[in-house]
């Protein structure tokens, strides 16, 4: 019951005027950024991070978290109305959402998306309320060898899970680790890889890297954007968007089921909202009521995908806050932000900074309700948001990238860095190298290096320390499975296809 009291106190923090407005502002901004094709939650959070420097950490993270989960609502709008997912978690939403809006049921699809986002998000936050402290309790038992194995496990699963090509995921993970070694080493105090540049002595700054990788590279991408055709030509009214009783009955079960599954997917290291919606959509297709019609425009499909990505976004806060392990690109940016405000995410955060931890969780309950109301109220205006021409967005976002990168250290060098990283990020993404693993690796490397060194200090140079401690050994063996299983499954499938005489799917 102690947690319950703390949560109530958290509501006190979250309901302070400043924090309430921060959540509201984040909600509106998140919806808009999410709705604009090409801008996703990572970009949104990255561009707005510099703006939060003037705020107390709790307020800042409340706003950024609100942007993150509100983004899941907004991302579905352009998926439904334009067939262009505003963000990768909304890819699955487009499968049923766009056919629905072509059938003239855009309003219903949007309403379904909002309601199931709310249900999924709320389930995710409820589970987070319990899982966060529980994970932190487990985390307290972690010494350096466990931390090392956990991060290694997280990094490897990230490489495998993100993107179509595990090879390229691993490649960018390695690149991220190497970039993080630039600057003074935390463990031994020596300067590395500065190549004679005084600006690099302190390492590659996090915000310019993020703004370049996710902001500026997106601007470059937008230059070649194809224009989507809006399926609506008039304002939608809330009245025609409302679902009937029987439709609500169709939406609720998949939303709840997907909410639970999505949350647990989100908690897994390396799996964020995109994987969440993917898994819940597949589940719905396997066991749902209208399963054979999935993909042709059924509201169950929209419900499963949207509840899935919102709950996974909420779930990913559990490992982020209580273990310091981000599950997605966006939570990696949040982790970077937290560290800049002097908060160290990890098991001690829950006990040492209860006001922050519970304030944030409470704000998510409130924020989620605010986002739902805002999202419903915005349905009639969506047509205007989606019509903002990319032609105007390109120079404006570019300007924000320049100023944002500069203002972190008041240094023009960071602007050059942002530009270079942006160009590299754009080119490698064009060739299907995912950049989220790079960012995650970049954020986690200082900790992996410190824990590695500390582990060897503990064992006097004996590497068996990683295999003789049960938690560490379990994590490392799970990691081995990640590497061994996919090729074995591939072989098995191939063999099965050969014996049945068919071609492999």
């Amino acid at each position: 019951m102690e947690s319950f009291d703390l949560l109530l106190q958290g509501f006190g923090t979250a309901l302070s005027l400043q924090n309430f407005f921060a959540a509201m502002f984040g909600a509106v901004l998140g919806i808009i950024v999410g709705a604009m094709p090409g801008l996703g939650s990572v970009t949104g959070v990255a561009l707005l991070l510099p703006l939060t420097f003037g705020m107390p950490p709790t307020t800042a993270i409340i706003m950024l978290a609100a942007i993150y989960y509100a983004n899941m609502y907004g991302g579905s709008y352009s998926a439904i109305l334009l067939n262009i997912p505003g963000d990768s978690p909304a890819v699955m939403t487009a499968l049923d959402g766009y056919p629905l809006s072509k059938q003239g049921k855009a309003g219903k699809a949007l309403f379904t998306s909002n309601i199931s986002s709310f249900i999924g998000g709320t389930i995710g936050i409820i589970i987070l309320t319990f899982m966060g402290p529980a994970l932190a309790t487990i985390g307290l038992a972690f010494g350096p060898p466990e931390v090392f194995s956990l991060i290694l496990f997280a990094l490897c699963s990230i490489g495998w899970l993100l993107g179509d090509s595990p090879l390229k995921g691993l490649t960018t993970t390695f690149l991220g680790i190497l970039l993080a070694t630039v600057g003074v080493s935390m463990t031994l105090g020596q300067s590395r890889f500065a190549f004679g540049s005084t600006n690099l002595l302190a390492g590659i700054a996090f915000i310019p890297l993020v703004i370049g990788m996710f902001g500026f590279s997106q601007v470059m991408e937008m230059m070649t954007f194809r224009k989507g055709d809006l399926t609506i030509d008039k304002r939608l009214t809330i009245r025609e968007s409302l679902l009937s009783k029987s439709e609500i009955k169709r939406v609720i079960p998949p939303a709840i089921r997907s909410g639970v599954l999505g949350t647990f997917v989100g908690i897994l290291p390396g799996a964020g909202a995109t994987t969440g919606s993917f898994m819940t959509y597949i589940l719905q297709k396997k066991i749902g009521k209208n399963k054979e019609k999935m993909g042709t425009g059924v509201i169950e499909g929209v419900a499963a995908a949207e509840a899935g990505n919102n709950s996974a976004a909420a779930g990913s806060f559990a490992p982020l806050l209580s273990l310091g392990i981000p599950g997605s690109g966006t939570s990696a940016v949040l982790l970077g932000g937290l560290m800049m405000w002097g908060l160290t995410p990890g098991p001690l955060l829950v006990t040492n900074e209860p006001e922050f931890f519970w304030g944030l969780i409470a704000s998510m309950y409130i924020g989620n309700a605010i986002v739902l109301l805002m999202a419903l109220a915005m349905i009639p205006f969506l047509i205007y948001i989606l019509r903002v021409p990319t032609a105007v967005m390109v120079p404006v976002i570019t300007a924000v990238c320049i100023v944002g990168a500069y203002s972190v250290n008041n240094n023009m060098f960071d602007v050059y860095m942002m530009l270079i990283v942006g160009v590299i990020g754009f080119i490698i993404q064009k060739y299907k190298f995912p950049v989220a693993p790079l960012l995650l690796a970049f954020v986690l490397t200082p900790r992996i290096e410190t824990s590695l060194r500390q582990s060897f200090d503990m064992s006097m140079g004996d590497p068996t320390i990683f295999f003789t401690r049960p938690i560490s050994a379990t994590l490392l063996s799970m990691m081995m499975l990640f590497f061994i299983l996919p090729p074995i499954i591939g072989l098995y499938k191939k063999k099965k296809a050969e014996t049945s005489g068919g071609t492999p799917a």
């Binding site: 190497l178 080493s185 601007v219 100023v403 023009m412």
Partner: protein, 140 residues
């Protein structure tokens, strides 16, 4: 082809990191990994994955259009303008110029949006967040 160029670049990065890690920063110091340990291990891993990428040589149709690099030129010009005009004027002027000459918006429309960006930078970054912006010839 470009994919192979990227992979060769990554191969070089991995090589430089592994080499410096081994020769400069120390692989193993006092019974534990030195500053060069992670650069060497991960540098070699990066070289390996880069080689696999080169050997696989997947065909990717998505070619890069030259248009995508226009914003890069925009940023370079803005950086030059910042030296003379300061951050606030330079960013606004960049937005104005882009909208007027690249996107053929009217002077008024481009001017309003450009001015809006300058006011945003001044209000939010200079006044609210107290970021000391680079100033130009006019002192702002």
């Amino acid at each position: 082809m470009t994919e192979r160029i990227i992979a060769v670049f990554l191969l070089l990065v991995g090589g430089v990191w592994a080499f410096l890690g081994l020769t400069e920063y120390g692989l193993w110091i006092e019974d534990g990994p030195g500053g060069g340990f992670i650069p060497v291990v991960v540098g070699i891993l990066l070289m390996l994955t880069a080689v696999v990428v080169i050997l696989k040589n997947e065909e990717i149709k998505d070619s890069i259009e030259i248009k995508a690099f226009f914003p890069v030129a925009g940023v370079v010009i803005t950086i030059l303008m910042i030296k003379f005009l300061g951050m606030i004027i330079a960013t606004g002027l960049f937005v104005f110029g882009w909208l007027r000459f690249m996107e053929q918006r009217t002077y008024v429309k481009a001017g309003i949006i450009g001015l809006g960006v300058s006011i945003f930078v001044l209000g939010v970054f200079s006044l609210w967040l107290q970021v000391p912006m680079p100033t130009g010839l006019f002192g702002i």
